[in-house]
């Protein structure tokens, strides 16, 4: 695995990066996480991001919160985790409570609804665009690219089309593919 180019310089760097990331996360932070941590800050490679994200998604709790804690802890221990999570939560929390205090009826206005609908379309596209970028993280996967793409298609059908609960999807797709990856790793195919 290639090493990431950068790392956060300090707890303050962590705090500011996660604050800035959270404030861009309209409709959820998930759509901007990868753009900032992988493309802009280069704290993670695409492959490294996939690995960390898979752990963050498997554990209970919000995925972005989990990833934030993991990264903060990795760089600066418990102090880093605390700085990163405070960065992620503090500014947006202040903002959202101010909204709550001031404008309860705001999002019932037609113009606001229409704006939110359009932003929802953009967020949906951003997430799928991110997924396309992540495909490069599959290079070097021990299962090989064709198997990866097949698993990806099955996963999409199971979750997006059949709407099977996430836990069941992990069991049906994630567990067999992990076992298969393990087999591929312990018995690597003979080099040509």
């Amino acid at each position: 695995m290639t090493e990431p180019v950068n790392r956060p310089q300090s707890c303050w760097d962590l705090f500011m990066t996660f604050t800035w990331m959270a404030l861009q996360g309209f409709g959820g932070v998930q759509a901007v996480v990868q753009r900032i941590l992988v493309d802009q800050k280069k704290w993670l490679t695409p492959q490294g991001f996939l690995e960390d994200w898979s752990v963050a998604q498997t554990l209970p709790g919000p995925h972005v919160v989990n990833l934030t804690l993991m990264l903060g802890d990795r760089y600066f221990g418990a102090r880093g985790a605390l700085c990163a999570i405070t960065g992620l939560m503090l500014a947006p929390c202040t903002l959202v409570l101010c909204f709550a205090a001031l404008y309860q009826g705001l999002y019932e206005l037609p113009a606001v609804r229409s704006m939110l609908h359009a932003m929802g379309c953009v967020v949906s596209g951003m997430i799928m665009g991110n997924a396309l970028r992540l495909l490069q993280g599959l290079k070097g996967n021990p299962m090989g690219l064709p198997v990866c793409y097949a698993l990806l298609s099955v996963g999409f059908v199971v979750v997006a089309v059949w709407r099977i609960p996430l836990a069941l999807a992990w069991l049906m797709v994630g567990v067999p593919s992990s076992v298969w990856a393990w087999r591929c790793m312990v018995r690597p195919r003979a080099l040509p």
């Binding site: 999002y107 953009v122 990866c148 593919s177 990856a181």
Partner: protein
């Protein structure tokens, strides 16, 4: 948040034992919030609205909507719920800074309840994973999950799409999504530009 008179009266009855009970409820939910905290929203609704009558239905729903549209993690809807309850317990928004302080404190407690246990588990697993990251099992898990993860991201984007109908009414939305996919995939354009463009197009009523 502006208060409904009836709900205010009900919420005033929250005593120390009630607060403890609520935080315990959030603590107990924390470790089963797989797939995000919004997935646990139905259970919170059952507890806060149907069972305890601490929140009205619109108050609960608007917390979720507000957290979705505002920047930041969607789990912040839990903070809004705490804030609403805290302000009510403090005598309502009109009661002044003391009520607001109650709201902030309650928001913090609720967030801590829902994030504390899962956060601790994440830290423990993370440290364990780093120590054993070269073990075949850990590497196989990460490699095996990677395709499913990308599938999940596609699915999330897909499910957020407006209804797929290629009629005149939905075309602008789909085009906007397609443009956003392409720009995200092929360029390094800043996400704020994309979001701002969406906001403007929506406000103009073009989408």
């Amino acid at each position: 948040m502006a208060l409904h008179g009836a709900a205010q009266g009900i919420a005033m009855s929250l005593n120390a034992a009630d607060w403890l009970h609520m935080v315990l409820h959030f603590l107990s939910l924390s470790l089963i919030t797989f797939g995000g905290v919004v997935a646990a929203a139905p259970d919170m609704h059952r507890y806060l609205v149907d069972q305890q009558h601490w929140l009205s239905d619109p108050e609960f729903n608007s917390s979720i909507t507000l957290a979705q549209i505002a920047p930041g993690p969607n789990v912040l809807f839990v903070a809004i719920i705490g804030w609403t309850l805290g302000v009510q317990a403090g005598g309502g928004m009109a009661a002044g800074p003391l009520a607001w302080a109650w709201g902030v404190l309650a928001a913090f407690l609720c967030l801590l309840g829902i994030l504390g246990p899962s956060g601790c588990l994440t830290l423990v697993v993370n440290r364990w994973g780093m120590r054993y990251q070269d073990r075949a099992g850990v590497r196989a898990f990460k490699a095996g999950m990677a395709p499913l993860l990308i599938a999940l991201m596609f699915s999330t984007g897909w499910l957020l799409l407006p209804p797929i109908q290629a009629d005149a009414q939905h075309m602008p939305g789909l085009l906007l999504t397609a443009a956003s996919v392409l720009l995200m995939w092929k360029t390094r354009i800043h996400v704020l530009w994309l979001l701002a463009a969406g906001a403007v197009l929506g406000l103009l009523g073009w989408v």
